[in-house]
């Protein structure tokens, strides 16, 4: 369990194949066809970007630890795999996931403080009563079947840093990519190591080749990633990623930049038992996320959510 992802409830009960995820969601959508028609939502990935960004903002506001935030992000993903979002007040779920994750990661926050901060950030929460978070906590734990211990890729990334001789810039960028990965389904599909390797891959492959592609103006990737995160944006821009794709970086290790660097990574991967097919798939998922992020419209997501939240509150 805690020592070993492969014996964990995460591996046994909360890791799926893509067809399984699709089947879950199709069933859920069918059960709530009327709600879907009544309250159309933007691209699900945009909704994910919106919700995860909101969660990050609350965490920043309360100076929560990264690990607690990451756990809350996973709770959110697992919860909405089983519950139709239109039947919930997503802001209440966000607040409750944060409350529970903080306790689980041994950095508890008082329920009253959390409610106050959440209500200030999201007027749509519409709750002054801590009992609603308490009740929602029951729903959340029950939906998650009390499987609350989560394995994150950050630890795996830290473990890779030494063997792969990652520079501070690369490590920071990989870290930022991991932050972004919570928007995708990767945490529901792959072990933490696979996601960490994919993040390192993106950081190493794309950064040296396309420094100009990074979003921020700074030449430091760490500063860029930090700036991007502060702006609520992704760690990488689609332009950078597409450039790399066009350059063949993802198509099969045809890198031209920093061969030494890549050589080391490729050697390590070849020796490791990491599922390369999964790493490639995870990398592609991140690439397509950054593409999708280009057309993200926060306002559209917020308004679409507000419509069903408002109607339900009536």
């Amino acid at each position: 369990m805690a020592a070993n992802y492969y014996d964990s409830t995460q591996a046994k009960y909360w890791t799926f194949t893509r067809p399984e995820l699709l089947a879950h969601r199709t069933t859920l959508a069918k059960q709530h066809a009327a709600l879907h028609t009544k309250y159309p939502l933007p691209d699900p990935r945009h909704i994910n970007i919106y919700l995860q960004t909101q969660l990050t903002k609350l965490a920043k506001r309360m100076s929560l630890r990264q690990q607690a935030l990451a756990t809350a992000q996973i709770y959110l993903k697992r919860f909405y795999l089983h519950v139709e979002p239109r039947r919930t007040n997503p802001y209440l779920i966000l607040a409750t996931a944060t409350y529970l994750a903080c306790k689980m990661e041994e950095t508890p926050q008082h329920i009253r403080l959390l409610l106050n901060e959440a209500a200030r950030q999201w007027p749509e929460l519409g709750a002054q009563d801590t009992g609603r978070i308490g009740e929602c906590e029951f729903a959340l734990i029950s939906t998650l079947s009390s499987r609350l211990i989560v394995h994150h890729p950050y630890r795996a990334l830290a473990d890779l840093q030494g063997p792969l001789a990652l520079g501070a810039d690369e490590a920071a960028l990989a870290h930022a990519v991991l932050n972004d990965s919570f928007v995708t389904d990767l945490a529901l599909l792959y072990p933490p190591t696979v996601i960490a390797v994919a993040a390192v891959f993106l950081a190493v492959v794309l950064r040296p080749a396309h420094p100009a592609g990074l979003q921020a103006h700074s030449s430091s990737a760490a500063a860029a990633a930090a700036a991007a995160a502060a702006a609520g944006g992704p760690a990488m821009s689609a332009a950078a990623v597409q450039g790399a794709v066009a350059g063949g970086a993802l198509a099969g290790f045809g890198f031209r930049q920093s061969p030494q660097r890549m050589g080391k990574l490729v050697d390590w991967l070849a020796e490791s038992k990491v599922d390369m097919e999964a790493v490639v798939d995870a990398t592609q998922e991140m690439v397509s996320l950054y593409e999708c992020w280009e057309s993200y419209n926060e306002r559209a997501c917020k308004e679409a959510i507000s419509r069903f939240v408002r109607d339900a509150a009536k």
């Binding site: 020592a3 919930t88 801590t130 609603r132 734990i141 029950s142 509150a313």
Partner: protein, 470 residues
């Protein structure tokens, strides 16, 4: 699960409402009927529960109801967390599938731990306690033959019900049975098997980065088939790269008699070695049938500072002598190091300690074993578990490789997984009561005691209290 009663007044005076309900339960109707009702009521939604708060069309509605699946047969014990009931599979309901253990066998009986809401008499959801969250998450994640098996968790009526497989005995009960006149020692084979199973379970916990922090005889269950099951993970937590020092989360851990010297000396960054000290204390208690270091806990003062446990340190010193820098190099770095000097002033006996060897020989001599007594390997294991320096203390892994278990050259017969193997002693079944006043009350009043044992409540130390910062 069954903790000794809390003798502290930490819970404050009983509320008027609780007193009223206790009175009402005792005075109403024929006793038998009242008992049944009391038990039933404990598991039903309070009749005056307001309609569920609408969470924008997602009010919490439990999927499973405790009363659909289980018949409560009685009350086992209570503590600060809530209370524990004995239950069986629902009778006369053909639709209910009996619960199965992962090994395939059917589970016949259950111990249901009901957590009470944080605030007494509160009809609101108040947020689940940190302790309950830990226990729920860890018990769901962990699985080992020497760990109590969690069947399921049901969240209903603002209460948490953790359904465990029932264990007929616990070590406290077994120790007590042997200490009744005519006093008989725990047979050496039983002792060895018990310790081996206990350490196996502890090794599994530590390998998974879980430190238990409340090991004591009452928290170690024994099934009628002689399996040891570590229980009560309410203070347990993960210690892999903690975000804060462990001390920051819980100021006081481990019941006083089993508390390791580094904890008594205020260590901020303690390790799983604290569990091994507790195992050493339990080993000694299984040998002598009484706690080896039976100190008195110094209470917190009004400033909520954690007091130095001088009396407990003195009790350890009476047997082992006080710790010295020469044996424990990091000793002067302990926050309470300065206080250590004062122990001898209050308790001169620490200057002329009995010594563990002598303690052991006296104990073995007094025990009058009918069969072969434990040998000197047992003493050596005990000495290495009750090692002052946590860095030198045996780990669970090392302890399992000790000659006491594997023989002098590793050729010994491994201990049985049935600690009762070859024994004729019949231990009395756990006492399960249907006394209504125990059901109707709040379960945390001073004087409510763990049932099944005579009232040694004042002699047993209170459970380790969970105290949060601020």
């Amino acid at each position: 699960m069954s903790n000794p009663p809390s003798a502290t007044a930490a819970m404050g005076p009983p509320s008027a409402a609780a007193a009223r309900s206790a009175f009402a339960a005792q005075s109403a109707g024929p006793l038998g009927q009242t008992q049944a009702q009391g038990l039933k009521r404990a598991f039903e939604e309070a009749p005056d529960t307001p309609p569920l708060v609408k969470m924008n069309a997602t009010p919490y509605a439990p999927q499973r109801h405790i009363n659909d699946h289980y018949d409560i047969v009685g009350f086992i014990s209570s503590g600060t967390y809530g209370r524990v009931y004995k239950a069986v599979n629902k009778r006369n309901n053909p639709n209910i599938q009996p619960a199965k253990h992962p090994s395939g066998r059917t589970i016949e009986a259950f111990a249901i731990k009901k957590f009470k809401p944080d605030k007494e008499g509160e009809l609101q959801y108040t947020g689940i306690s940190q302790s309950a969250i830990r226990e729920m998450a860890l018990c769901t994640e962990l699985s080992h033959p020497a760990l109590i098996h969690l069947v399921e968790i049901i969240l209903e009526s603002k209460c948490i019900f953790m359904v465990f497989e029932y264990a007929e005995h616990d070590l406290l009960q077994i120790i007590h049975h042997h200490s009744l006149l005519p006093r008989t020692p725990i047979p050496a084979t039983c002792l060895r098997s018990t310790m081996h199973q206990l350490l196996s379970g502890l090794l599994y916990l530590h390998q998974n980065w879980v430190v238990h922090r409340d090991l004591k005889p009452a928290n170690i269950m024994v099934t009628s088939a002689g399996s040891i099951k570590i229980g009560d993970l309410g203070l347990a937590r993960l210690f892999y790269k903690p975000l804060h020092a462990l001390f920051t989360g819980d100021k006081v851990v481990v019941t006083i008699w089993y508390r390791a010297p580094e904890l008594l000396l205020g260590s901020r960054h303690y390790t799983p070695a604290i569990d091994l000290w507790a195992v050493g204390c339990i080993f000694a208690e299984l040998l002598s049938l009484r706690p080896i270091f039976k100190g008195e806990e110094a209470k917190q003062d009004s400033k909520k500072t954690v007091p130095f446990q001088r009396n407990q340190m003195g009790k350890i010193g009476e047997v082992l002598g006080l710790p010295r820098k020469s044996e424990w190099p990091l000793l002067p770095a302990m926050p309470e190091y300065a206080n250590l000097q004062s122990v001898a002033m209050h308790n001169p006996a620490v200057s002329r300690p009995l010594g563990l060897d002598k303690w052991y020989r006296n104990t073995i001599a007094n025990n009058n074993y009918a069969a072969a007594p434990p040998d000197d390997a047992a003493l050596d294991l005990l000495r290495r578990l009750l090692e002052y320096d946590p860095l030198k203390r045996l780990t669970a892994e090392e302890a399992l490789k000790h000659p006491y278990f594997v023989g002098e050259n590793g050729a010994g017969k491994p201990p049985s997984w049935n600690c009762f193997e070859g024994l004729e002693t019949k231990y009395p079944a756990r006492k399960v009561t249907t006394e209504t006043h125990e059901i109707g009350g709040t379960g945390s009043l001073p004087g409510t005691k763990r049932s099944g044992l005579p009232d040694d409540g004042l002699l047993r130390p209170p459970v380790a209290k969970k105290m949060r910062e601020g």
